[in-house]
């Protein structure tokens, strides 16, 4: 599949739309009346200062939080409540701001774990590793190997992830999310805590997987250079409110965004 051009995306099919969503924890309003959409095949960035409600927004999208108000339409289906595993079954995968892997398991097993939902055979079949369970395991392993190859982590295949440096753990986590063959991939600060070289590698992977697999990606990122280079469209939140939405160039020129980032002198 070819990655769509900007024009195609602008005219493209909406994969997910968020309509007037509000989320509050007691008296704290994390997200207030936010509406936006994510189109098929695009890389959509969500930015904003600390506490702007970015991670809350992702958590709402994948069903981790239930918004008090508003509607979310994903692949044409509107819902107000959804559980995370339903989101996963529906084709939403994510990575976390703080790496959340099975530390004692190898990189390979962690990524294989991402295939769990796609495995049809029952527990007993899988334990015995015969017949259809074996061929299913082999099919899935092939896909996992393609991901390992894609992310260039062949050398750590058999190493428990707890022993790996942070940058590689992040890559394994991305691999696990990819193993779900998601329609929508949510990346929460994929480059946090990385050095310049690791960041450049990660950028490459994100662009490549968007191009190669046509995966739609929503990502939260603080590095503005990265956001401007990677994304097709940028959503800017501040104090839980949408303050801008548009192409990187539009957003960069937006008065409200500049004020939110640099502060306003009154």
């Amino acid at each position: 599949m070819r990655a769509p051009t900007r024009q195609q995306i602008a005219a493209g099919e909406v994969l997910l739309s968020v309509d007037d969503v509000s989320l509050a924890f007691g008296g704290v309003r994390a997200v207030t009346g936010v509406s936006f959409d994510i189109r098929k095949g695009e890389i959509r960035a969500i930015i904003g200062p600390n506490g702007a409600g970015k991670t809350s927004m992702l958590n709402v999208i994948n069903g981790f939080y239930q918004p008090q108000r508003g509607r979310i339409t994903f692949k044409g289906q509107t819902r107000s409540r959804m559980r995370p595993y339903e989101a996963a079954l529906g084709g939403i995968a994510r990575t976390f701001q703080n790496v959340a892997l099975f530390k004692g398991m190898t990189a390979l097993d962690n990524i294989m774990a991402g295939r769990t939902l796609k495995m049809q055979r029952g527990f007993l079949w899988q334990v015995l590793r015969v017949g259809p369970a074996l061929s299913e395991e082999m099919e899935n392993r092939l896909l996992v190997e393609q991901i390992i190859d894609f992310l260039k982590i062949q050398h750590i295949r058999k190493i428990p992830v707890g022993k790996l440096p942070y940058g590689l753990q992040k890559r394994v986590e991305l691999g696990r999310a990819l193993a779900m063959e998601p329609d929508l991939l949510l990346l929460d600060e994929p480059m946090a805590g990385m050095n310049i070289e690791e960041k450049e590698d990660m950028c490459r992977y994100i662009l490549d997987l968007n191009e190669h697999f046509g995966t739609t990606i929503a990502l939260i990122e603080h590095d503005m250079g990265v956001v401007m280079d990677l994304s097709n469209r940028v959503l800017v939140l501040d104090h839980g409110v949408k303050i801008a939405d548009g192409t990187p160039a539009e957003v960069q020129a937006d008065r409200a965004v500049i004020d939110a980032y640099l502060g306003v002198s009154h």
């Binding site: 070819r2 990655a3 392993r141 092939l142 190997e145 393609q146 390992i148 190859d149 894609f150 260039k152 062949q154 050398h155 295949r157 310049i196 070289e197 450049e200 490459r204 662009l207 490549d208 191009e211 190669h212």
Partner: protein
């Protein structure tokens, strides 16, 4: 099997191998976690398709084809495909920055480049406006390249497809005729040497050079079709060209391409390579890694390791050399083999290695002996690109840590009055590409080649000993002989020291600049609760200085025992604030230090070493991998070390 005179080019050898070794594996490549193999007859088919495709893209006799990337079967096949059309492959170091690549692509007049992946494509595109001759770029790994403009960019699969279409028409006869036109005296390959000074030079080697050298080398070490090698060294290095291309083509053995550069050790173990070839650094790194890991092992394991390694140091080499050894030592060594050496060899991936060579630079004698003591038949080799590798090598059973062996079959070696080593052999290169003056400087009219290395022929064994580069050997102001590399190698034996640069020519005394080894010293720091945030911080740590001062003092002690060297002891040293890096031009791509360049670049430090100052400020420009530049500044401390009088050592010995 030795080729008959009829097979005087690699494409002809390929056709022969496809007949006589048809179903034997020729190349293997690990991809998606699985070893995939190609037999000689399959390789024949692949190369033919590729050649016909390249011809359709316009590659013709006399052209040059650049090859840039890691050790992948299709990059090796591209070499043979080009040769079958009468074009010469020009492998280029894959980690070269775009600027270096531009020089070679332009100088060699390359018309088509076969590259590994997007990274290399990007590099070439960034300089393509300067390369008017370059008509096509072909890539092996399509990832990320989908949306690139494909008017001059081709996927290698598509090129082969083009070739297979042609094959269906008249391709077969045409290709075989094209192969038949090749002669042994034709240019086979141009290998650009990294060069310690100036721009790289293109060494032209003919088919005869490579094939005769490979056949002789196979004979020297009895290599046959049953061997397995891992191809992991840069394609542009003559060693790899001989070892993963010329020797397998002549002997018919199998070349195994690792999954990625990081998995070489693991892949070597899986394949069970029988023949290995590596620069000293590889053996050094593996040893350092082993030692570091042992420091973290349990007390029992460490005790067993130390005991048996001690035993191996004493008897292992003698056993390997077939000397007389008392029975109890033999038995204990057998036990050690079961408990320590065997598992260690397995861990290092050398269980099946029948023969391992080290070349490119002198190896630390302790490192050399260590490998031999645990039962690995490591031998030294002395060679050059200009010689199609082989000048001298150690025959089995005649192994000495400080020599590089006897002349190979058909090679003559002599030492000039200046101390420089000269050789004459069938492998002597045709010349430097487009540089007849430089060729004339190196090749004497009667066919000898100046190596630029200073050496002596050992009177007792008849082996050649290399001391240093001929131009680097100098003298202190008091006339003492100063062989910098000799000192540096002694220092680099310590796992904590990664790199050393010695100064002393036309000076009053010897000083050195050191690089710590981040793996070894980092692990030491962890065990000793030394906190550090960067290489720079660790390198400047007083405890690290104290540790290295100890190493320098030990080197001085060993120098004091050698009458000729006792005067060249190290008086002062410093630890550099950054690692020497080929991107900054401080070491070559083959990891040799460029002493003169370092002296200029770190002039303030060098001045301080000889002025008696206790520290100095330095600001250096550094180049990042993407070509951007930055400035790194630091205050570097200098340590004095007191020399050990030669007599003191003798007294102690008495």
């Amino acid at each position: 099997m030795a080729p008959s005179t009829a097979e005087d080019t690699f494409p002809k050898l390929l056709i022969r191998n496809a007949q006589i070794f048809a179903q034997r594996p020729a190349y293997r490549h690990k991809d998606l976690g699985i070893w995939r193999a190609w037999t000689w007859s399959q390789v024949h088919e692949e190369v033919r398709a590729l050649a016909l495709g390249l011809s359709a893209l316009g590659l013709k006799r006399g052209d040059k084809l650049a090859i840039i990337g890691g050790n992948r079967p299709r990059l090796y096949w591209s070499m043979c495909a080009a040769q079958s059309l009468g074009a010469a492959p020009v492998p280029i170091y894959a980690d070269s920055v775009a600027e270096e690549m531009a020089f070679i692509l332009d100088h060699a007049e390359v018309t088509i480049a076969v590259v590994e992946d997007q990274e290399q494509v990007d590099k070439i595109l960034s300089i393509s406006d300067r390369l008017a001759r370059l008509s096509h770029v072909i890539y092996d790994e399509p990832r990320g390249l989908r949306n690139y403009d494909h008017t001059r960019l081709n996927w290698i699969d598509d090129v082969q497809k083009l070739g297979r279409e042609r094959l269906a028409a008249d391709g077969k006869q045409w290709w075989e005729a094209s192969v038949g036109e090749g002669k042994g005296s034709d240019l086979a390959v141009i290998l650009y040497t990294s060069g310690t000074t100036g721009q790289p030079k293109g060494v032209m080697l003919t088919f005869e050079n490579l094939i005769v050298s490979a056949v002789n080398a196979n004979r020297f070490d009895n290599l046959g079709r049953q061997e397995d090698v891992i191809a992991y060294l840069p394609l542009a290095w003559v060693g790899d060209h001989m070892f993963s291309y010329a020797q397998p083509f002549t002997a018919g053995f199998c070349v195994n391409c690792p999954e990625s550069p990081e998995t070489v050790a693991e892949n070597r173990r899986e394949i069970g390579a029988t023949y290995a070839f590596a620069p000293p650094r590889t053996y050094e790194n593996l040893l350092t890694l082993t030692m570091v890991r042992m420091e973290d092992a349990s007390r029992l394991k460490r005790a067993a390791f130390n005991y048996f390694i001690g035993l191996a140091r004493r008897w292992g080499e003698k056993i390997l050399n077939g000397e007389k050894v008392p029975l109890h030592a033999r038995l204990m060594y057998r036990l050690g083999d079961l408990l320590v050496y065997g598992p260690l060899r397995n861990r290092l991936g050398v269980s099946r290695v029948r023969l391992a060579y080290t070349a490119g630079e002198a190896i630390g004698p302790e490192i050399f002996r260590f490998w031999r003591s645990i039962g690995v038949n490591l031998k030294q080799l002395y060679g050059q690109t200009e010689a199609s590798v082989y000048v001298t090598a150690q025959p089995d059973g005649e192994i000495y840590a400080d020599t590089v062996g006897k002349p190979n079959i058909d090679v003559d070696v002599k030492v000039a009055e200046t101390g420089e080593v000269l050789f004459r052999s069938p492998g002597v290169f045709a010349g430097y590409y487009k540089e007849p003056e430089k060729t004339a400087e190196t090749k004497t009219p009667d066919g000898w080649v100046r190596t630029g290395d200073a050496g002596i022929i050992d009177a007792k064994t008849g082996h050649l000993k290399i001391i240093d580069r001929a131009k680097d050997v100098g003298r202190l102001n008091d006339g003492t002989l100063f062989a910098p590399k000799y000192l540096e190698n002694k220092l680099k034996f310590y796992p904590n020291i990664r790199e050393a640069v010695a100064f002393g020519d036309k000076r009053d005394f010897v000083c050195v600049m050191l690089n710590i080894d981040l793996t070894a010293v980092g692990s030491w720091a962890e065990r000793n609760n030394v906190v550090y945030g960067s290489y720079q911080e660790l390198a400047a740590h007083p405890l690290v200085y104290a540790m290295l001062a100890g190493h320098v003092a030990e080197v001085n002690r060993s120098l004091a025992q050698e009458p000729a060297m006792a005067g060249a002891q190290i008086r002062r040293f410093l630890i550099l604030h950054k690692e020497l890096d080929p991107d900054d031009g401080e070491i070559t791509r083959t990891q040799k230090v460029r002493r003169r360049f370092i002296a200029e670049r770190y002039a303030p430090l060098l001045t301080a070493l000889y002025s008696g100052a206790s520290e100095a400020d330095i600001a250096t420009e550094v180049t990042f991998e993407d070509g951007r530049k930055g400035v790194l500044s630091a205050r570097v401390k200098i340590r004095d070390v007191s020399p050990i009088p030669a007599s003191a050592v003798l007294d102690k010995a008495a």
